[in-house]
Amino acid sequence: MKKAVLVIVAMLMAFCLLTASAFADDGKITLEFWHSMGSKTGELIQEIVDEFNASQDEIYIDCIYQGDYTTGGTKIQAAVASGNGPAIAQIEITRVGMYAAAGALLDLTPYAEADENFDVKSLYPGVMDFSYYDGQLVSLPNGRSVPVMYYNVDALKAAGFEKAPENWEELRAAAAATTDPEKGTYGYGCPIGDSWYYLALMLTAGGQVYNEEGNNIGFHNEAGIKPLQLWLDMISDGSLYLPDGDDYASNSALRNSFMAGICNITMQSSAQYRSLADNSPFEVGVAYIPKDVTYAAIPGGSNLVSFGTNLSEEEKQAVWTFMSYMCSGDVAGKYAAGTGYLPTSDAALNSAIYQEKLAQYPYLDIAVGQLEYFVKMPFDETYTEVKDAIVGRYTQEVIINGMSPEDAVEAMWEETGELYE
């Protein structure tokens, strides 16, 4: 018995030693890069990082997947608070403000100014809205996206719709026409718990994300009520499909349903284009979010930041080298081409790989066309909580729990106001 135990322990230990990563420290600067991209996009990031590691022999980037934006964001917050923040992280843009306000981000300004190969000004101004905090360069655009409308071209054609709905009325009509309760199919599906889509519709109804003073929501009026009413109307039409799950889980559940033909029109990030187009057994169409009174685009996606405020000067320089590499035309172009994210500069847009994929995937650059419609976003420490715990929640209260849209917008306004007091 004793011997058996000893043998087992010895075997376990041997296994542990044998599988120990054979990574030897050969004098390179090793930096951690945390990201939130799984699957194909994650593989693409790994590929890009591998190329970076192979391209020079001074810096080694250790690429670590941390779960989706919420899970990853939670991990990052816990790590930063314990002084273990990663040297480089990809974070969801609305969370940048929180860290910037806490002074947790490395100021990249001196490195950017000293860099002769990479000019920050070459990046589109539209994607630089979460980059300068108090005059400091704290983040660079990475996987930037806008919500767009995807539709099942075959199903819409069969119902007599030759082109994508352009406004809310057409959306409602197309959704109703492609709904079939007997087959269990719905015209339209939206992850209503993710406030991004509500805000996107609200903007087209003429609202603003925040008011002029920047201390409360900017849709405490008709514009805030209208999208909720639209959804309620579609529920009474029987054409609105609500996916299971919370937050990002509801997004992936929705994409599964779209692919399976359960819902024919959906709203998702432009970054999902390649994945949806490649996996759907029908032709996938992409269009702008239908408008009510005006076109508008709400930015989303992620930026790159560094929590390396305590790193050595040499390491900080290495952080910059990697971050500017990620933003350089060819790399950003490759990333955008493989996903549907925005090419962040003319250099990325015109890169060979992007142009090549654009020829294959006609809607790949849909987000580029929306750059001019980008709206101003709040950039502070409180917005994350506002969009998740207040806007996201009250949207669900209306759609799921039967609260009136007027009451919901009123409650959003009150609670947001309290947070800013």
């Binding site: 296994f15 599988t19 120990a20 990563s21 799984g38 997947y65 779960g67 816990a78 790590a79 994409r255």
Partner: protein
């Protein structure tokens, strides 16, 4: 001679038990089946019970998506260390509570009881702050040390030790045996079954644990298997249930095998833990 009524009752009895068995076992079979299905099969209506072909593509995908070997290694290190290191702590403590008289004993015993009563779901935030300050986040220490003073283990061992007649100890003392020697050479062999019980329980709970490593680890280098496998679920822009189930099967299989091999022993261990 059996009556008709008795026969009917007997059939109903068997039927009822079979229903229970199906309810309890089917999800596992479903998981195994799904691990071999293709993505299309997982979303097909009606559901696919037997996959079209058996290959390990989904498992390969799991290994490609997350760092399974690393997680497995971490889980084994943590489980093994907790199981064996705890004996060094709890055996002396239980011995001292069972066989030695000293003033602070009631207080010490109360401490053990409090430790047993307070779940880690209450203490995790302060411990997180403590480990943060001490720079112990993302270390094996953070995953192992909080579990080695296993209060249930102390409690159980103490009861076993109390049943060992004092004469045995007195006799050993006359032979000039030290406390250490008495504990490890004389007492421990006498309570082997309790030690196995404690070891099994802490191995199982640490293997399955999700909450604690979720809070204490942020890096692949220290993530345990449950954390890594849970990452699979949102590692994809689509829900690839076939791949997710294959990953979960990797997490479940070792426990299932252990249970099949030692089902009686494991159940007895849990009865001890439940009844105290």
């Amino acid at each position: 001679m059996k009556t008709t009524k008795d026969r009917i009752l007997n059939v109903l009895d068997i039927l009822g038990k079979l229903i229970i068995i199906v309810i309890m076992a089917f999800p596992f079979l479903w998981m195994i089946s799904a691990s071999f299905q293709t993505l299309q099969e997982t979303i097909a209506v009606p559901p696919t019970l037997i996959p079209g072909q058996f290959n390990f593509d989904n498992f390969k995908e799991v290994f490609k998506t997350v760092n399974v070997w690393q997680y497995l290694r971490n889980s084994l290190i943590v489980c093994t260390c907790v199981v064996f290191l705890q004996y060094l702590i709890i055996v002396p403590a239980a011995y001292s509570l069972a066989k030695i008289d000293y003033k602070a004993k009631p207080l010490m015993f109360a401490l053990v009881m409090v430790g047993q009563m307070i779940p880690m779901q209450i203490t995790f935030l302060p411990i997180y702050f403590m480990f943060s300050k001490a720079n112990l986040m993302d270390t094996y220490t953070a995953l192992i040390v909080p579990f080695i003073s296993n209060p249930f283990g102390i409690f159980l061992l103490r009861q076993y030790f109390m049943q060992v007649p004092s004469e045995v100890i007195e006799a050993a003392k006359l032979d000039d045996a030290s406390d250490i020697k008495i504990m490890f050479k004389i007492m421990m062999p006498m309570v082997k079954s309790a030690l196995v019980t404690i070891g099994l329980l802490s191995f199982i709970s640490n293997w399955n644990g999700y909450f604690w490593p979720l809070i204490m680890t942020n890096k692949d280098a220290f993530r345990t298997l449950p954390i890594g496998i849970a990452l699979l679920k949102d590692a994809d822009s689509l829900q690839r249930w076939n791949v997710i189930m294959a990953g979960n099967l990797l997490l479940v299989l070792p426990m299932l095998l252990l249970y099949i091999l030692a089902s009686k022993k494991i159940r007895n261990a849990f009865v001890y833990s439940g009844i105290k």
